[in-house]
């Protein structure tokens, strides 16, 4: 608390520095701070290996003439039940999707729980049943797992970890070319809207978009160069990540971005940016100009709002053409706070 230090005039307050000694909430929000944290973690691990794509959603390794793809993710969400789903659905779909966007057919998942003492068994089994139903429906078995229970107050109700293994003939990481088209697979921000509406006590009929994306990606994987699922950092994070990784500029036409009525309304009511709203069942993919129409037609069979939203250019940054001027779309940062003003 006593943070006065020497300075030139002798009476300057010390700048309020980010508390480097402890993890901040925003370092897990899918934006810039999280990227920085991850790169710090990497720098401490950094062992060389035969694994590839270790910067992507899932890593791959050559195995028995194919590519074995591996990913892992932990899930916490507030509230744990929300319109159209629960934390179990996110835990299943999130890991399946991290495999799918690499072009890998999901072969099996692990499922681990950290449970808080006192957490309702009814709620717990309802979550387990959700995962069981999805597993059967999509033919992705749960093959191993673990359960821990910790003292009341040590965690907030439930944490789920799922890891997944998939196999691919070709990994979806073809280099991008100028003129390639940027495609989104459906309406943006429905998961974020369902969650924020519940959190801020707003009523809406909109449900989470959470779903496994393998079928969709499987239908277009021969036609696209790369894909990435949109998650908690929203479109802003995902577009910046792909553009940066490929050393290209993305030009996005704001008017083209598909968005449901209620999602637009939520952005107005809470004063938040569409680009920062989470999705759990949408992906961005990039295809050559030649293939893009066919990709959109195929994706429309799954979601009528699939469409081209932009184009790959030389340069850097994600540029958005609004209905007035252009602007740079930055990585999101901090946590979503509703505007009052």
């Amino acid at each position: 608390m006593d943070d006065k230090k020497e300075c030139l005039t002798g009476n300057c307050p010390t700048p309020i520095e980010a508390d480097v000694g402890s993890i901040r909430l925003s370092e897990g929000s899918g934006g810039r701070e999280m990227q920085e944290l991850i790169s710090q973690i990497r720098s401490k691990l950094g062992a060389e290996s035969d694994w590839k794509n270790t910067q992507d959603d899932a890593a791959s390794i050559d195995f028995a003439g194919k590519k074995l793809v591996f990913t892992s993710d932990s899930y916490v969400v507030t509230p744990i039940f929300f319109p159209g789903g629960n934390i179990g659905k996110i835990a299943f779909c999130g890991t399946v999707n991290d495999l799918a966007v690499m072009g890998a057919r999901p072969l099996g998942l692990s499922l681990s729980f950290v449970l808080e003492e006192g957490f309702s068994k009814k709620d717990f089994f309802s979550i387990v049943e959700t995962i069981g139903e999805l597993s059967k429906k999509h033919g992705v078995p749960i093959v191993t797992g673990d359960t821990k229970v910790v003292e009341h107050g040590s965690v907030d109700k439930i944490i789920i970890n799922t890891s997944g293994v998939g196999s691919a003939e070709i990994i979806l990481d073809e280099p991008l070319e100028v003129g390639d088209q940027i495609i989104v697979s459906g309406g943006i921000g429905e998961h974020g809207t369902a969650l924020l509406a519940r959190r801020f006590e707003l009523e809406t009929l909109i449900e989470t978009d959470s779903k496994p994306l393998w079928d969709e990606i499987n239908s277009v994987r021969g036609l696209i160069r790369q894909a990435k699922d949109v998650t908690r950092g929203g479109l802003a994070a995902i577009l910046n990540e792909i553009a940066e990784k490929n050393g290209k500029q993305f030009l996005i036409n704001e008017e083209k971005i598909p968005i449901e009525h209620e999602v637009r309304a939520l952005t107005e009511v809470l004063g938040i940016e569409l680009y920062n709203l989470a999705c759990e069942g949408r992906f961005v993919c990039i295809a050559s100009h030649k293939n893009s129409d066919e990709v959109v037609q195929k994706l429309k069979q799954f979601n009528k709002h699939a469409c081209v939203v932009g184009e790959v250019l030389d340069g850097k940054n994600v540029i958005v053409q609004t209905r007035f001027g252009k602007k740079v779309l930055n990585m999101p940062h901090g946590n979503i706070v509703p505007r009052i003003c």
């Binding site: 608390m1 309020i16 520095e17 809470l270 609004t322 001027g325 706070v337 003003c341």
Partner: protein, 337 residues
């Protein structure tokens, strides 16, 4: 819409540099989000004034709120306030250390909590909600600001040739009052869509060119002459005008509000807690000049270096929707970079 942009271009051709100030953070947000400055001619400058309630709140008031929280008083306030750096710490840090600070997004969330102090910030649009709390006997640390007195000061020293008046502030106080302020430049009350702001700019340029000093209500569907009488009546009943300190602008007479009932005025109830507060801003921080529109966020040496939205040193870097620096950081990255 193109007709207005064309007309602006035509008008601007025969004019020197024109400074137009918007005094509402909501307007600043729209202007930046839609890149409106980029589509205006170079000699037409839109300058952001003191329209962000978080930004204009004085360092002392923020320090008082932090002192309350650390002193064990339950506090409630609107979203961005908790991130604003005080002299030593912020409400967010105070909360991390166990202080009870509740973030609310709607004033009725704490009705009934009579032991919780509401740290009230905001302009005229938000004062009726604070008045409602006072009526419900909720104690208030009142840092509300009134826009018209600040505008009277800015118009002289900044050489502003026209004002874009705030839309929803006017919903409460009415459009008539702007004409009664003796502000010697034209004003246009505008809505919040990008189209509305382009049109307001166009109307202002015409008025400036014709040397017409008057107020045009270009948001008549939402703003009426006398404003919201029920809201004004409750404010009058529960609060009184007082002198208030603004960040960067010092004390402006009659520009603040305080509860009429001293038993609900946290400045009085907890005055002993505030005795030893010595407030200082981060040395070199240019927030004070930025809220006056004297410098652009990028002219501050700390912008984007030691001062970022993740780790704001000054108040203008806090509110992503209204703070001039945070908005510039979010949308203003130059296309050439």
């Amino acid at each position: 819409m193109n007709e207005y942009i064309e007309k602006i271009n035509t008008l601007a051709r025969d004019m020197g540099e024109v400074k137009i100030m918007e005094v509402c953070g909501g307007h600043t947000n729209t202007i930046m989000r839609y890149g409106i400055r980029d589509i205006l001619p170079a000699n037409i400058k839109l300058i952001s004034g003191p329209g962000c309630p978080v930004c204009v709140t004085s360092q002392y008031d923020i320090d008082c709120a932090i002192e309350l929280a650390l002193g064990g008083v339950k506090l409630a306030t609107y979203g961005d306030m908790i991130h604003v750096p005080g002299t030593k710490t912020s409400l967010l840090d105070a909360r991390a250390r166990g202080a009870d600070v509740k973030v609310i997004y709607s004033a009725d969330q704490i009705v009934g909590e009579k032991d919780r102090v509401f740290f009230a910030v905001g302009f005229e649009t938000t004062t009726p909600m604070t008045a409602t709390m006072l009526k419900n006997n909720i104690p208030v640390f009142c840092a509300h600001k009134l826009i018209p007195p600040a505008m009277k000061i800015l118009v002289g020293e900044m050489n502003i040739q026209g004002f874009i008046d705030p839309g929803h502030v006017s919903t409460i106080i009415g459009s008539d009052i702007w004409g009664e302020l003796n502000i010697p430049v034209p004003q246009v009350i505008s809505g919040f869509k990008p189209e509305a702001l382009v049109r307001a700019t166009c109307i202002l340029l015409e008025l400036i060119k014709n040397k017409e000093v008057k107020v045009v209500n270009d948001y008549p569907e939402v703003v009426f002459g006398k404003g919201n009488l029920l809201a004004k009546k409750l404010i009058e009943e529960t609060m009184k005008p007082v002198d208030a300190e603004w960040r960067g602008m010092g004390v402006i007479p009659g520009s603040g509000l305080a509860p009429r009932n001293e038993l609900l005025d946290a400045r009085i109830i907890y005055k002993d807690l505030f005795k030893n507060i010595v407030s200082r801003e981060y040395p070199g921080c240019r927030c004070g000049e930025i809220v006056r529109g004297m410098v652009e966020p990028r002219e501050c040496p700390f912008f984007g270096t030691v001062c970022t939205p993740e780790n704001p040193q000054g108040a203008c870097m806090v509110s992503e929707s209204e703070g001039a620096c945070a908005i510039a950081y979010k949308y203003g990255k130059s296309l050439a970079e």
